[in-house]
């Protein structure tokens, strides 16, 4: 399970925001949009065995026995 960390720096005098880390670096006004596009939203994942992640083929008559 990879660990990701970003460092955020906000300058209250200028209103600038910069975010850096995990292969990402940005400081433009749309930096949060860039982070969302670059690092992405994690969708729901399921922790189940690989063999249960696929639809099993129907058994042929001669395999039923």
């Amino acid at each position: 399970m990879p660990y990701q960390k970003v460092t955020v720096v906000i300058d209250g005098a200028t209103g600038s925001l910069s975010i850096e880390g995990d292969g990402f670096k940005g400081s433009e006004c749309n930096v949060l949009d860039q982070v969302e596009q670059s690092l992405g939203i994690i969708t729901k994942t399921e922790a189940k065995s690989e063999k249960f992640q696929y639809v099993l083929p129907d058994l042929l008559p001669n395999q039923v026995g």
Binding site: M1, P2, Y3, Q4, K5, V6, T7, V8, V9, I10, D11, G12, A13, T14, G15, L17, I19, G21, L32, V35, E36, L39, G40, I41, I42, T45, A47
Partner: protein, 141 residues
Amino acid sequence: MMSHKTEIKTKLNNRAFLLKALDNMGFTYQEGENLHTQSRYGVREKVDILITGNNKHTYSDNPIGFKKEADGTYSATGDFYGLTDANGKSVSAKSLGINATCMSKEAEVNQRLGNLRFQMDKNSRKQEGSKLSFTMQRWVP
């Protein structure tokens, strides 16, 4: 009677995050169409967010607030003479503008990176001068 009016323009244009910042700074406030600052020294000005303070003695006249400019950003304005924050530290237009900007942006970063399952490392949070820095982290399954 002497006026102490000060005004500082910020780059904040998101009211919700500005209010969140004021909450985090320990200020109470009112929102409305017909709000005015009113200080002991005669400063009276129409504002969009009136800070009603955290100290009844110094904020009893509602001397400061935020007004929305034509470009959509907010300016801190009013008579800051003698005002202190919740920790007893002096409040100026500049310090309010800087802190409101930092904490407003912090709230926005927390919300949007929080949607990506990042969490703030609270031990990493530090403010030096006008700069606030902290780290956000997550485990990716």
